[in-house]
């Protein structure tokens, strides 16, 4: 399946509702601010352990507080498959060069992740996820990673809005 590899700030046209980071339909309101992240030189094995342990599907890759990429369960699975297949063929058990313990995350991550800002609307996030077939979008303020918004977060925003009478106020 084709994936974006050359994007940065998503072009979200009319839905980039600049209603303020705390607006009831803003990404800032619905994102998860406490994001699990990983560093570019951490190993693929470490990333995978973190994803399984936290039951998440993607990890923003951060260097000195700046978002430099994103790695998904699919990226990691593909890396693992390639390695376990060749290890089986070679009959090796010890971590060898090219094993998940030695491959850095930066070798398998998407380098220029699609991002939105805290002021972007959740509708823009939903459209981006659908168009690009991605499960989550990192939220950045300038270059700093400030959160992540997932399909579940967006779903929650829609549902709360629907059940609270549409205006978007959830309180």
């Amino acid at each position: 399946m084709p994936r974006p590899n050359s994007h940065k700030r998503a072009n979200v046209n009319q839905h980039e509702a600049e209603s303020g980071a705390d607006g009831p339909l803003s990404c800032g309101h619905w994102m998860t601010a406490k994001v699990h992240t990983i560093k570019p030189l951490d190993s693929v094995a470490h990333a995978r352990a973190l994803i399984e342990e936290r039951r998440i599907n993607q990890l923003p890759v951060v260097k000195d507080g700046v978002l430099v990429g994103i790695v998904t369960d699919r990226d990691l699975r593909d890396a693992f498959n390639a390695v376990t297949t060749s290890a089986h063929a070679a009959g090796t058990i010890e971590p060898a060069p090219g094993s998940p313990e030695q491959i850095p995350v930066e070798a398998v991550m998407t380098h220029k992740a699609m991002t939105l800002t805290p002021r972007s609307s959740v509708v823009a996030a939903a459209e981006l996820m659908r168009r690009e077939r991605i499960g989550a979008v990192p939220i950045v303020d300038g270059h700093a990673l400030v959160g992540i918004i997932t399909r579940s977060d967006v779903l929650k925003a829609f549902i709360v809005r629907e059940t609270s009478g549409l205006s978007g106020d959830r309180d």
Binding site: D73, F80, A126, R130, V154, L155, F158, I159
Partner: protein, 120 residues
């Protein structure tokens, strides 16, 4: 929802399940015997047995007795169930038999369409 979705049986191997997931781009497959939904198997379940895909049966890795919905269930209700239970898909069952599967992606698409109609 996706009607008549691909599915696996209890005695299929995880290797077979993974092949279907990768070929068709699904992360979840219902586990079905004589039309009845007995479980759901996800790519995460498969990953956890990555070293033994050829020897492990779907039955030992699946979530048994999954939460299901009917074709009449509202989008909002299906979404609430997924959020509360932290699951990514719901088999759709009618008269005791599998008729479809609905995922978070399906729900987001539907809700986007609704939002567009309302002018958001």
């Amino acid at each position: 929802m996706t009607r008549n979705p691909s599915h696996v049986r209890l005695t299929d191997t995880l290797a077979a399940a993974r092949m279907i997931m990768q070929a068709e781009g699904f992360k979840h497959l219902p586990v079905v015997e004589t039309k009845r939904v007995l479980g759901v198997i996800t790519d995460r379940d498969v990953r956890q047995h990555a070293a033994h895909l050829d020897e492990t049966l779907v039955e030992t890795a699946m979530t048994a007795d999954p939460v299901t919905v009917s074709p009449d269930t509202s989008i909002e209700e299906a979404a609430s169930v997924m959020l509360v239970k932290r699951i990514g898909c719901l088999p759709v069952v009618q008269n005791g038999g599998l008729v479809g599967i609905i995922t978070v992606t399906d729900l987001l698409r539907a809700l986007l369409d609704i939002a567009r109609v309302h002018g958001h």
